[in-house]
C-alpha cells in the first residue's frame, strides 16, 4: 500500500518536473535557434506584421516564400494580427523577451514608445552603409521613425487622408470641391436637401476613425507651436479655446453622419461609399485599392477644408508611413536587414502596388499601369505636402489620445458635451508626468 503511494507520488513529482521544464524551455528556444549560421542548419527569422487581411495577406505569404526560395536554409516564421490587436500584442512582445526579429510598426509616438524599451535596433548604419539603397526611398518619410537623430525603422507604406467624393453625385447636383469649412457645411446641407440623409459617414465604432478626424481638425485649427507643446508628453495643457472649438465643429460634422454611425465600423461605411449610397467619405490613400473593386464608381478627392479662424497650415496633410523595425536582440542582424531590404525592394514594392493597390515609399514603384487612378497624384501630394501630421494616436500619448477618441465617439453618440470631453483630455494630459517617465 505505502509502496504504491510512494511510487505514485514520485511519478507525480516527475510529471511536475516535466511541466516545469517545459515552461522553461519555452523561454530558451528562440536564442537557441538563433545561432543557425552553421552549415546544414536552418536559420529561423521571426516576422510579425499587422496585415492578416486580404489582399495584403497573400502579398506577405508571397514575400515569405520567395525569400525562403532565394535564401536556402532560411525559414521565415510569420505571424500577423489586425490593427488594434496588433498595437496591444506588439507592445507585450517587445516588453517581454519574446520580441520578433522583424516586425511592423506605426510611426511617431507609437514607434517612439517601442523604441523606449531599448530593444529596437538603431538602423542608422544600415542607411549610411548603403546609400544606393537609401536613395530608393522617399526621403521625407524617414523622419517619422527618427528619434534623437537615429533612424529606427524602414518606412514601407505611405499614406495621407483626404475626403473622397462620388463624382457622379457631385456633377448631377452641380457641386464643387469645398475649400473652407463653411463651404463644406453648406455642401453637406445641400446634399441633405437633395435626399441624402447621411451626406457623409464614418464607422465611428472604430475609435481610431474618430481620432483621424480630430487629429486633422486640431492641426488645421491650432498654430504648430501650440500643437507641439500640447502634444508632447508632460507639457500638454490643452487649454487653448481652439481645442474646444474643434470638438464643437466635430459635434456639428458628426451630426450629418446619422444616428447609426456609432454602431457600425469603418469597413461597413467604406462599403456604403463604394456602393454609391453615401456621397462623401474620409479615406486613406491606402484604401484606393478597395475603390477599384467597383469600376463604375467615379471618384475624386479634396483635402480637409480650412476653418476661417484656423491658424494651422491649410495645405497640411494627415497621414503617416508604416514600416518595419528590427529587434536589437536578434541573432541574425544581417539576415534581418536583408529581409527588410527584400520587402522594400523596387520589384516587390511594385508588386505590392499592383496587388494591394496602395502606395509605398519606394520611388517609382507606382506606375500608371499598376496603380488605381489617382495614385500618382496622391504620391505627388504627399511628397510635396507643406506639412504632414501623424495620426492622432501616433502624435500624442496613448492615454490622451484615448480620452480624445472615446470623447469624440461619445459626442457623436450625443451622450457627452464638447466641454466635458476637453476637460477629460486636459485631465489625462495633466496626469502624464505623474503616471509616466
Amino acid at each position: 500500500m505505502y509502496r504504491m503511494g510512494r511510487r505514485l507520488g514520485l511519478l507525480m513529482l516527475a510529471g511536475l518536473l516535466v511541466v516545469m521544464t517545459a515552461c522553461n524551455s519555452n523561454n530558451s528556444t528562440p536564442s537557441a535557434n538563433g545561432n543557425g549560421d552553421a552549415k546544414g542548419k536552418t536559420t529561423t527569422l521571426k516576422f510579425f506584421h499587422r496585415w492578416p487581411n486580404e489582399p495584403r495577406n497573400s502579398y506577405f505569404n508571397y514575400i515569405k516564400e520567395e525569400f525562403e526560395k532565394q535564401n536556402p536554409g532560411v525559414k521565415i516564421e510569420m505571424e500577423s494580427v489586425l490593427n488594434d490587436s496588433y498595437k496591444e500584442k506588439i507592445k507585450v512582445l517587445v516588453s517581454s523577451g519574446e520580441i520578433p526579429d522583424v516586425f511592423s510598426s506605426w510611426s511617431d509616438s507609437f514607434a517612439e514608445s517601442l523604441v523606449s524599451s531599448g530593444r529596437v535596433e538603431d538602423l542608422t548604419s544600415m542607411y549610411k552603409s548603403d546609400p544606393n539603397w537609401t536613395k530608393t526611398l522617399v526621403q521625407n518619410q524617414m523622419k517619422s521613425f527618427t528619434f534623437d537623430d537615429k533612424i529606427y525603422g524602414v518606412p514601407f507604406t505611405m499614406d495621407g487622408k483626404v475626403f473622397f467624393y462620388n463624382k457622379k453625385i457631385f456633377n448631377k447636383l452641380g457641386l464643387e470641391k469645398p475649400k473652407t469649412w463653411d463651404e463644406f457645411i453648406a455642401l453637406l446641407d445641400k446634399l441633405k436637401a437633395s435626399g441624402y440623409d447621411t451626406p457623409i459617414i464614418e464607422g465611428l465604432q472604430d475609435s481610431w476613425a474618430v481620432g483621424h478626424y480630430l487629429g486633422t481638425m486640431n492641426q488645421r485649427m491650432m498654430s504648430p507651436e501650440v500643437l507641439a507643446t500640447d502634444y508632447a508628453g508632460g507639457t500638454g495643457k490643452f487649454t487653448d479655446p481652439g481645442y474646444l472649438q474643434v470638438l464643437k465643429y466635430w459635434q456639428k460634422l458628426s451630426s450629418y453622419m446619422g444616428p447609426n454611425a456609432t454602431s457600425v465600423n469603418h469597413e461597413a461605411t467604406r462599403n456604403m461609399f463604394i456602393a454609391g449610397k453615401v456621397p462623401i467619405h474620409y479615406l486613406q490613400f491606402a484604401e484606393l485599392g478597395y475603390l477599384k473593386d467597383k469600376p463604375d464608381l467615379e471618384f475624386d478627392y479634396f483635402n480637409f477644408p480650412q476653418f476661417s479662424e484656423g491658424k494651422g497650415n491649410a495645405e497640411g496633410l494627415t497621414g503617416a508611413p508604416e514600416g518595419f523595425m528590427i529587434s536589437k536582440e536578434t541573432a541574425n542582424k544581417a539576415l534581418a536587414e536583408k529581409f527588410v531590404k527584400f520587402i522594400v525592394s523596387p520589384e516587390n514594392a511594385a508588386k505590392f502596388q499592383h496587388d494591394v493597390g496602395s502606395m509605398t515609399t519606394v520611388i517609382g514603384a507606382a506606375t500608371k499601369e499598376n496603380s488605381p487612378p489617382g495614385t500618382l497624384e496622391a504620391i505627388k501630394l504627399i511628397q510635396n505636402a507643406a506639412e504632414t501630421t501623424p495620426w492622432l494616436d501616433n502624435a500624442m500619448d496613448a492615454s490622451v489620445a484615448d480620452a480624445y477618441m472615446r470623447g469624440g465617439q461619445a459626442i457623436a453618440a450625443g451622450i457627452e458635451t464638447p466641454e466635458n470631453v476637453i476637460k477629460e483630455v486636459q485631465d489625462a494630459a495633466a496626469k502624464l508626468p505623474a503616471v509616466k517617465k
Binding site: M12, L16, K91, G118, N265, D402, A410, A413, A434, K436
Partner: protein, 294 residues
C-alpha cells in the same frame, strides 16, 4: 514506516498546491505590490507611487460608470439566469414534457458550448442598425419606432451587451438546476399530489426549497461572473463604446494596462475587482450557510 505513510498524501496534493501558488497566489501578491508602483510595460521602468493609483481609482469617474454597468449585469443576470433558468428547468422536468425535454435541453445548452467570440460576432450582425436581424424584424412587424442603433447608442449599448450574455448563459444555469431537480426524491412530489397541491404550489413548496443549494451555487457563479465580464463589451462595442457607456471594470483594467500602458493603475483596478468578488462570495456563503443541512 508510519512517518513515510503520512508523507504520501502530501505528495499527492503537492503538485496542485505548487501550481496554485505559482499561478494564482504569487501573481495575486505581486499584483498587490504593483498597485503601489508606476509600471510601464514597454520601457520596463517602474517607480514607487505610494497611494497615487488608489487616489486615481477613487477620483476616476469611469470607475463608477463601469461598476454601475457591472451591477446592472449582476442584477439582470440574477433575474434571467438564476430566476428564469430555474423556471425553465422546472418546466422541462414536468411529466408532460418528458418526451421532448431532452431536445429542448440540448437546444438551450448549445449556446453555452459555442465560443463567446463567435457569439459576439454573430450578435454584431443581429444588432446591425440597417441590415441587422433585430431591426429588420422590428420594421417588418411595423414597430419602426422601436428600431434603434442598439450598440451605438449610449442608452441601449450596455443592455444590448447584457442581453447577449443572458442568451448564452441561461442554458448553463438551467442544466445545473435540472441536475438538482432530478435528485429530489420523487415521493415528495407524489405526496404533494395526493394532498391536492397544484403545479405552482409544488414548485414553490417542494422544488424551490429542495434546490436551495443549487440556487446558491448559481447565484455565486453569475454574480462573480458579472463582475469579471470582459469578452462581450470588448468585442461587441469595441471596448465599451460609445464613449464609456458600456464599459465594465475588467475592460477598464485591460485598457489601462495594455492601451494606456499604466500597469500600476491596472493592478489597482484588478485589486478592486478581487475585493468586490471576494466580499460578495463571503456574503453569499454566510447568508446561505451551505453544507449546514436544510
Amino acid at each position: 514506516m508510519r512517518t513515510r505513510r503520512t508523507i504520501a498524501p502530501y505528495l499527492f496534493v503537492l503538485p496542485c498546491v505548487l501550481m496554485l501558488a505559482v499561478f494564482v497566489y504569487m501573481p495575486l501578491i505581486q499584483n498587490f505590490f504593483y498597485s503601489f508602483q508606476n509600471v510601464s510595460l514597454l520601457s520596463g521602468k517602474s517607480s514607487f507611487a505610494g497611494f497615487d493609483n488608489y487616489r486615481t481609482l477613487f477620483s476616476d469617474p469611469v470607475v463608477g460608470k463601469a461598476l454601475i454597468n457591472n451591477v446592472k449585469y449582476a442584477v439582470i443576470s440574477l433575474i434571467f439566469q438564476v430566476g428564469f433558468g430555474l423556471v425553465l428547468a422546472a418546466i422541462l422536468e414536468e411529466e408532460f414534457l418528458r418526451k421532448v425535454s431532452t431536445v429542448f435541453r440540448t437546444i438551450f445548452f448549445i449556446p453555452v458550448i459555442i465560443s463567446i467570440t463567435v457569439i459576439c460576432l454573430l450578435f454584431s450582425f443581429v444588432y446591425d442598425p440597417t441590415e441587422g436581424l433585430l431591426n429588420m424584424f422590428l420594421h417588418s412587424v411595423g414597430l419602426d419606432a422601436w428600431a434603434k442603433p442598439w450598440l451605438g447608442s449610449g442608452d441601449t449599448a450596455i443592455y444590448a451587451v447584457i442581453a447577449v450574455s443572458q442568451w448564452q448563459s441561461i442554458g448553463y444555469c438551467m442544466m445545473l438546476f435540472i441536475v438538482a431537480i432530478q435528485k429530489i426524491p420523487r415521493d415528495l412530489y407524489e405526496a404533494a399530489k395526493i394532498d391536492g397541491a397544484g403545479r405552482v404550489k409544488i414548485f414553490f413548496s417542494i422544488t424551490l426549497p429542495q434546490v436551495k443549494e443549487m440556487i446558491f451555487v448559481n447565484s455565486l457563479l453569475t454574480i462573480t461572473g458579472a463582475f469579471m465580464v470582459f469578452n462581450e463589451p470588448f468585442i461587441l462595442t469595441k471596448g465599451g463604446g460609445p464613449g464609456t457607456s458600456s464599459i465594465t471594470i475588467a475592460v477598464l483594467m485591460y485598457q489601462n494596462g495594455f492601451v494606456k500602458d499604466s500597469m500600476g493603475y491596472a493592478a489597482t483596478i484588478s485589486l478592486l475587482i478581487f475585493v468586490i468578488t471576494a466580499v460578495l462570495a463571503l456574503i453569499q456563503t454566510l447568508s446561505f450557510r451551505t453544507g449546514k443541512g436544510d
